[in-house]
């Protein structure tokens, strides 16, 4: 699974993209975020407040209960501020 980080999530985690092997048992966005928080303190802090982050799965916005699978592209970012 490819995971992309943007804006302050990229800065706090220290990476802009990553390839991960999704453990069996992780089936939705919320589970993926909880798993990523265990990587290190930077990830734990960056992902600590679910309300301050947005997630896209295969370039579509995804709610916490949306399914995720090994081949997906997942992006994690703050609320948008374009325009």
């Amino acid at each position: 699974m490819r995971i992309l980080y943007f804006a302050w999530l990229r800065q706090k985690t220290g990476i802009d993209s990553d390839e991960v092997e999704l453990p069996s048992g992780i089936t939705d966005v919320a589970g993926l975020i909880e798993w990523l928080k265990e990587r290190n303190d930077n990830f734990a802090e960056a992902l600590s407040d679910f309300k301050s982050i947005r997630v896209a799965v295969n370039q579509d916005f995804a709610e916490p209960d949306a399914p995720v699978a090994q081949g997906d592209e997942v992006a994690i970012f703050p609320p948008m501020t374009g325009g």
Binding site: A56, Q59, A75
Partner: protein, 158 residues
């Protein structure tokens, strides 16, 4: 319909005339240009860097444009959004819609910029004179402006 995501500047006059040239059914066109502002004082700005999610940005802008074309009888529409480093006074975004009648052009243009702000994956990093760099936070007013169109849609009587 057209979507352009680019780092380079755009010429508003050239973009707008290209949008309407040759289509005699167009009776009116509305355009909105967003600029990098500098309010001075403690928030004085040196520059702003726009980050985006290549791929999803274009996809979302196309979806928003399709939605506008579904809601209003548009003859032409255009979204141009820049990314990268910009300075105060620089153009960020151009939205333009054209229709046979002015109300559809006015309303759809407002809709596009309101939805774009909350649904297109762009993030602004400000480089301030006093406090260094900081990410711009999403505004509740922008979310309310976007929701206004959701409510109108749900409340519409067929």
């Amino acid at each position: 319909m057209a979507v352009k995501v680019q780092s380079e500047n755009f010429d508003v006059g050239a973009e707008l005339s290209a949008l309407t040239t040759g289509n005699m059914a167009i009776g009116g066109m509305t355009s909105f240009v967003g600029l990098v502002r500098d309010l001075g004082g403690e928030d004085a700005l040196k520059a702003m860097t726009l980050e985006h999610y290549p791929g999803m940005t274009e996809k979302m802008l196309r979806e928003i444009e399709v939605e506008a074309n579904d809601r209003w009888p548009l003859e032409a529409s255009l979204i141009v959004h820049r990314y990268g480093r910009l300075e105060p006074g620089d153009q960020i975004v151009l939205v333009a819609t054209a229709s046979a009648h002015r109300q559809a052009a006015f309303d759809s243009c407002a809709f596009l910029i309101d939805w774009l702000k909350t649904k297109a994956p762009f993030w602004k990093l400000e480089d301030t004179r006093e406090e260094g760099t900081r990410w711009v936070e999403a505004k509740a007013a922008d979310a309310r402006a976007a929701e206004r169109w959701e409510r109108l849609d749900k409340g519409a009587v067929e």
